[in-house]
Amino acid sequence: MTADGPALRARGAGVARAGVEVVRGVDLDLNIGEVVVLIGPNGAGKSTLLHALAGLLQLTRGAVERRGQVAAALQAPALARRSARANVETALRWWGVPRAQRRERALAALSAIGARHLADRPAGALSGGEARRVHLARGLALQSDALLLDEPFAGLDPPTRAELLYDAASALRRPRGATLVVVHDRAEAWALADRVLVMLDGRIAAAGPPGDVFVQPPTPEVAAFVGFARRLEAPGAVRMLRPQDLALDEAGPLRGRVTQLVPVEDGVRVELALDHGRLVTVAPAPGPKPGAEVGVRLIGGVSFTR
C-alpha cells in the first residue's frame, strides 16, 4: 500500500437488496489519516454501502478496491456473552493478532474510548452506552487500514451520546488508518468529519468539508436534508432557509402572518405564512401573538436558480 493512496476506493458501486438497487453508482475514496462521515436520511442506502465496502454484500455493478485490511463495526453492538475485554480479545483473535499481544491491545483500545473500567464486566451487564463503547473499542483495537463504523451512536440518550461522541472524536483520529462513519445527525458529522458525504436516494449528493456542505449545500435536495428546510419561491429561483436565516423585524422587507407558536428551549418557534412560502424562525419568548402580521428580514439561506 502506498502511503498516500486511498485505503479504500469505490467506483460506480451499485448494491441491491431484495432485487432493488439501493446503492446506485457510488464513487468514494477513503484516505489514510482522514475521518469521512457518510450522512443521509433513513433508507438512503448508507448501511448497505458500508456493508458492501466491508465485503459483506456483493456489488451488482462497479468495483471496490481495498488496499489494506478493512474492518467494519456494524450498527448493533452484538457483543458475545463474555466480559468486555474478552469481546475485544476475541475480535483480535479473528483479526489474526497473536495471543501475546491481544490483552495489551484490548486494554489500550478500551482505555482510548474511556471504557477501561468496563474491561471485566460481562457484556450482559453493560448499559446501552457502555456496550457501544466496548463495540467501538473492538473496532479500534484491530488497527485496520480502513475502519467502517455504522451509526456508532444510535439509540443512545442525548447526554450519553454526547459523551461518547466527544470521546470518539479524538479516538478516531488514526494517523495510520482511514475511517468512515455512518451517522444521521449533523452534530455527529460536525464533531467527527474531515470530509462529509451526503447520501440521498442511493447516490452521493454532496461531498466536502462540513463547513462547505452544511453551509453552502450544492443542490436544493441536499440543502433540504442539511436543515434548510423552508423554501421561499421566486420566479426562476428558490431560497432555502433554516430557522436562524430569518429574523422578525418590523422594518423588514417581507410581511408574514403568524400561524403557529411553539415554546422551545431558547424562545418560541414561530411559523409564518408569507406570500411565497411558509417559513420558520425562533424568536425570544413570548414572541408575537398568533395571527399577528409581522415584518421579516432574511439574514441567511442559500439560493438556487431553476
Binding site: A54, L56, Q69, A71, A72, A73, L74, Q75, A76, A78, A80, R81, T90, A91, R93, W94, W95, G96, R121, P122, A123, G124, A125, L126, R138, G139, L142
Partner: protein, 238 residues
Amino acid sequence: MHFIWDGLKQAADLLAHGDHDVLTVVGTTLRLALISTLLALALGLPLGLALGLGRFRGRRAMLALANAGMGLPPVVVGLVVGLLLFRGAPLGDLNLLYTFNGIVLAQTLLALPLVAALSAAAMQALPGGLLEQARAFGASRAQVATLALREARVGVLAATIAALGSALAEVGAIVLVGGNIEGQTQTLASAVLVQVSAGEYGRAIALGSILLGLILILAAGLTVAQQHERRALLGRPS
C-alpha cells in the same frame, strides 16, 4: 404399595452389595448413553448450525424433517434399523444386529434429530447481527461456527440433556436391534421390561429406581451447568 417400598429397598441392596449383573447393566446403559449422545452431538451440531444459520435450498424441508424426527416412534426406528441389519439386508455386512454397536447406531439415529432440531432452534434465537459482526471483524467460517455454538450454549446443553435422556429411557429400538441380551445389549430400561415379563416386579422396580436416579443425577448436573451459564450470560453478580 408395599411392592414399591420393597423394590426401593431391593434397589438399595443391589447397589450397596455391588450386584454384578446390575453393575453390568448400569455400565451398558451409561456407555450407550454417553457414546450415542457424543455421536449425535458430533453429527447433529453441524447439522443444527447449517439448518439454523445456513441459506440453502431445501433448508426448511430439512428443518421440518428434523422437527418431525424428534417425535420418531422408537419402535419403528428399531424395526427399520433391525431389518436393514439383517443378514442379506443392505447393512447386513456390518454384523451389527444384536450387538452393542448396533444399539448405539439405533440410539444415535433417535438422538440425532433431537440434537439437530434443538440446536437449530438455539442458533435461530441468537441475537441478530452477532455472526455478521464476527465476519466483519475477519472471523473465518470455523470461528463463526464456534462463536454460534458458544453463544447458543444454553440451547446446546438442552439438546445434550434431551439426547442423554432419550438414550437412558429407550426400550423399543434397543430391544429390536439389540435383542435385549444380558451383559451385552441389555440396558436398565430394557432390563425392566424383562423383569416385568417374568413377574419379578420387585426387581423391576429396583432397576427402574436406579434408572430414575441416573436420569435425575445426569439431568441435574447438566441443568446446573446450563443455569450457571445462563447466570454468567445475564451478567448477574455470582
